[in-house]
Amino acid sequence: MLKIEDINVYYGNIQALRGVSMDINKGEIVTLIGANGAGKSTLLKTISGLLKPKQGKVLFEGESIGGKAAQSIVKLGISHVPEGRRVFANMTVEENLELGAFLRKDKAGIKQDLEKVYTLFPRLLERVKQQSGTLSGGEQQMLAMGRALMARPRLLLLDEPSMGLAPLLVKQIFNIVEEINKGGTTILLVEQNANLALSIADRAYVVETGSIVLSGEAEELTASEEIKKAYLGGH
């Protein structure tokens, strides 16, 4: 579904990704783990079009999207829930969700998806008219995910959905990620919490300073000594 071939990505003169390649198959949950500053968010931003690779290819369902503007990539079916949620704090929950469907014209479908989002996140339904800046961190995460789902994506990019949330809420968010996946949406999940990410993922990639250093089945990686030492707290 998504194929990344040997991309290099820069911020000005600073190289953030070096020769990264990756494959994501339809229906999978793939997780990307790595330390702070490894380049995880950079990779997601490159897929969603906020950054452009200097070299290399990004193919989505066979179509090259490496040079495309972010707004056309959304249209093709990739939604990105950015790190730090980035909800429109000056707008209500409802307005945020409407913006998620910005490019869609099928009113009936939008309404249907809105109901789906409210079923997935009942907390949002209780707060439709609330300014989203006044939501709690967990509610903002739900809103950011709901907003991305309103575009009816086939590939959903999630950047650290558990950041700053209480363990119970993290669990809940991860259950919802699995549920979204069961509904047919392919997922690329970036996480610091490697344990949890590996527990729901089919496959995983490990990034270090801009390069992929390991990849494989999630189960394999969970068992690997190297990963245990570096990312799973050595248990």
Partner: protein, 292 residues
Amino acid sequence: MELIQQLVNGLSLGSIYALIALGYTMVYGIVKLINFAHGDVFMVGAFVGFYSITILELPFLPALLISMIVCAIFGVLIERIAYKPLRNATRIAALITAIGVSLLIEYGMIYIRGAQPEAYPNDVMPTSKIDILGVSISSQSLLIFFVAIVLMIILQFVVHKTKIGKAMRAVSFDADAARLMGINVNNTISATFAIGSALAGAAGVIFGIYYIKIEPLMGIIPGLKAFVAAVLGGIGIIPGAMVGGLLLGVIEALVSAAGFSLWRDGVAFVVLILILIFRPQGLFGKNKREKV
């Protein structure tokens, strides 16, 4: 009674400031640029209105519309040619460019048609006096006030209820997040310049009808005062610009009424200094508080 008349004058003048201030504030909100050429768009609007009325012999409303459309296109051209290439440049570079664009429009206008002033014909609008509770108010000030209020209501509707308005609010809050929604940021910025410039064009026509005399440098002082009005209300905040403009007009009128008419032009800048010292975020501004 004199006081009430002055208040009405203040509101008419203030509605002109408010219309210009809206463009400042919308553009600032979306690209964080003080568009110093905005007062000159107002001047161009006044001239387009003037020529529509005198040469094309159009009545008020069509002249107003033509001026708004021409200014909208002009505003978009300014943005595309002068500001867009500098979008990732330092703020000071953009600011200096804005001052350059302003001078270019002012002296370009003088080059094209000369520096001599023009006088709006005085029969564009009925000039009768209306008696309300013993106060005689010129129908013109009321009409001007009314037109400005209608435009502001339309603007509120556009910003809150239409797709382009929602896109504008999203981009001004977080451009990258807006891109991820599928919003075309460049088009949204252009639309913002178009709407802000159209309002300045309308203000130009209204100004001409009210004050009669127009000339190529007429945009400088109202432009600066509208900027003060935008800061007074809270730069980037649309209702702030409306209230700031009206308030500034009323303050100026009251200063004149109190016998300090020589201070009229100075008072705006006193307001600017006071607001920057005591409430730099403006009347409607909030101290930014963000959740992590």
